[in-house]
Symmetry: C2
């Protein structure tokens, strides 16, 4: 069995720590088996390793997450990168075609798919592994893992069984019920319905033949080219609801969706992360501070405080799922990003007038990494090196630079920098517009930059 | 009658918006009679104007507050500036000697003294004015305004009357009682005791002769020179408790000490100041945000959120008086200061190693003002001008500079800048130590700087 780990969704449900560049699965607020702080994606990957599933798992993700995944899991992981966001059916289809045409996986092989954000015990993945046998023995189109409900939740989807046949190791599915009210949920549980946790399996052939019928290309490169023509539709709508025979198996252990602050904080390894202090008179309160300035919490109960350069949230935990709606008026420029080459943090951003906007950043480049050789049309930049040494390329010449040096980069000048040791600088951008999109990348590879420049 | 307005105390009770450089009386969270946002000192000054007391009121304050007072009240106010902090008796003595030796006020004149932080109705100051007549008619050493208690507070000091004589317009004081328990407070109120709000009056002669007895100089300049030898003692201990005859008059209107977040927030003109959003599900909550990033408050009740570059406080209002104790572990460098010449804000501060500390500031200089001509022994600076035009002096030469220019200032270089228009720059300081104290001021006056430089 091969597996597809879906690492999608950026979302604002964990604002201000998640933003368009940084999804919730990368926040280091959990704890791994060694008691070290880790993110959701790191925790899931460690669990996949512990049940020997990691070698045959590929990660379906989007461009904006590639740097973070490589940074958190290393380069060893097998990534399928969507050219653009188009919902779960296109993402799973692309991953399936990758397995088929690039990895040469047999059409008879079972493929399991699961999301990155549930918080489960390791044995959950033993259940996922059982889906392989269930697909073969049931001859179903789809086999799901259903979670045994612990209370009549109104937030989840339910998998409703047919009258079960106790001779087999799976349960036939009658239909699905999304977000019932509490009364309905109670009755569903009486009928032995299970929570749908978004984990399912199918034979590779089931999806490939579906794509063939739709006239879509079955080679990875060709499908990438046509990706923008795929319908934006979820796998649930496109596949699950139309499948002829669906079966499920029951997982009755711990399972939780870590999609919102209230559920996530319950699994956090500590009440305080970052610079801050919580008074003795405070209870059931979590404080996560990614800012350089301290936060003091006094006399609070059941409160979540999360602070990042994007903003600060102070919320009653019970209301925290609504944060996404509350913050829609806020400006959305990410104030902190981790990238392949390092990271940056916005220190200050001011628009003085129509032709004078100024953005000040602190930028860190890891030893051996480089910023691409690039230019900007609407802004000049001043870099003051505050740490380390590097090679700086400017308009065709390479200069050795170090702490204390000031680099002035006029509009349209070609420039780039490679860190020889861990390098940091303060960047002052100023011009008529200072946006990430005003960038022309001339060359990414530093070896080639050095060829151009000498 | 002349008056002394005591504008002392920096304190941390309103952290993070008050710090050593910015006292609570300068926070613009109240509303003046025109409905505009104003600070405590601005509100009190407007009230003094409305009862015609401002012309004969001097402000006793400390060096660190001079810039803020001039910035908020203008240059018209008469300031007596303590050379250093030494408690209320020395401060009042210095102001009295100033009135006597500089202003030539008669020894028979009545002087009233009041603090800057009570929140009162205008007619409170009519009571203060009555103290003049009361001093003459009672022949008392001291006459106080006492506030009619509205509840048996354990936080205040009480003025306990003798059996009152209904023929006169004042009440003789028997003794004082500091912070009674509730039972005691209840009995004190039964005996018609009043809250001591720190407002009193005396004949100038009473203080001057006291200083004479102690052998202290009676000329302002001479007392300034000896100021560091004055005992650090409060006026209450040194004078009030030893006075032979003390009388009081009763004020029965609105009076409140705005010393802590819970009392201050009750008088705030709005629930939200700065960049933020408060959900409909939030009640009795105040949010004051001086940061550039937004704050979202959801599902809170009776909470105060205050954020400045110094830190962020999230507290139950009832516990807010304890903030001073909670935050003692935090680093105390002020992150924002207003000065005579403009303001600065710390954007970033990092100590990489024993010989590499970096501080990034955004600095604003008002048109026509200048930074002193100065040098530093332990740091170099890089200034990137992001707005406006100015004259920049460096090692004996003057240069015209403007937006976009980058000014590199090595260690020990003499430098200064005058803003021709409102000027802003990003300053990156780096060196073995970056502290405000590493500064040698060569010349403050820009005219003289220009003479030195040409």
């Amino acid at each position: 069995m091969y597996s597809i780990l879906l690492s999608g969704g950026s979302g604002k449900r964990l604002w201000p720590l998640s933003n368009d560049a940084r999804s919730k699965q990368f926040l280091k607020v959990l704890e791994n088996s060694q008691g070290q702080r880790c993110s959701m994606v790191q925790r899931v990957w460690e669990q996949l390793q512990s049940v020997n599933m990691d070698k045959k798992t590929i990660i379906a993700t989007s461009k904006s997450q590639v740097d973070m995944i490589n940074s958190q899991l290393g380069k060893r992981v097998d990534l399928v990168v969507e050219p653009e966001r188009r919902d779960t059916f296109p993402a799973i289809a692309l991953a399936a075609v990758y397995l088929y045409s690039v990895k040469g996986v047999s059409l008879n092989e079972v493929i399991s798919v699961f999301p990155v954000d549930p918080y489960v015990e390791d044995r959950f993945f033993e259940k996922v592994k059982q889906l392989e046998q269930v697909i073969y023995s049931s001859n179903a189109d789809l086999a799901l893992v259903g979670v045994k409900p612990t209370f009549p939740s109104e937030k989840y989807g339910y998998i409703v069984p047919r009258n079960s046949n106790s001779d087999v190791d799976y349960i036939e599915v009658s239909h699905f019920k999304e977000k019932p009210n509490q009364e309905q949920a109670f009755r569903l549980i009486e009928k032995k319905a299970l929570w749908n946790c978004g984990v399912f399996a199918f034979k590779l052939n089931y999806i490939i033949s579906m794509l063939e019928e739709k006239g879509l290309p079955l080679s990875y490169d060709a499908l990438i080219q046509k990706y923008d023509q795929l319908e934006k539709i979820s796998f649930d709508y496109a596949v699950v609801e139309n499948a002829k025979k669906v079966v499920t198996i029951m997982y009755s252990g711990f399972w939780k969706d870590l999609g919102t602050w209230n559920t996530l904080s319950e699994e956090m390894s500590t009440n305080l992360i970052g610079n801050g202090i919580i008074s003795d008179s405070t209870s059931n309160t979590h404080l996560i501070n990614e800012l350089g300035i301290p936060i003091a919490a006094m006399g609070l109960d059941n409160i979540l405080i999360a602070a990042s350069p994007d903003g600060i949230l102070v919320t009653n935990k019970d209301e925290s799922p609504k944060v996404k709606d509350l913050i829609t008026p806020f400006d959305n420029r990410p104030m902190f990003e981790e990238r392949r080459w390092g990271w940056y943090r916005v220190l200050d951003h001011t628009k003085f007038s129509i032709d004078n906007e100024v953005l000040t950043k602190r930028i860190g480049v890891k030893a051996g990494r480089n910023l691409s050789y690039q230019k900007h049309y609407k802004r000049s930049e001043v870099w003051t090196i505050i740490r380390g040494e590097g090679e700086f390329a400017l308009n065709g010449e390479i200069h050795l630079v170090k702490k204390g040096d000031v680099l002035v980069i006029p509009v349209e000048s070609e420039h780039g920098i490679k860190a020889l040791t861990d390098l940091e600088f303060i960047e002052v951008q100023s011009g008529s517009e200072v946006i990430e999109e005003d960038i022309v990348r001339i060359q990414m590879s530093w070896d080639k930059v050095k060829q151009i420049c000498t």
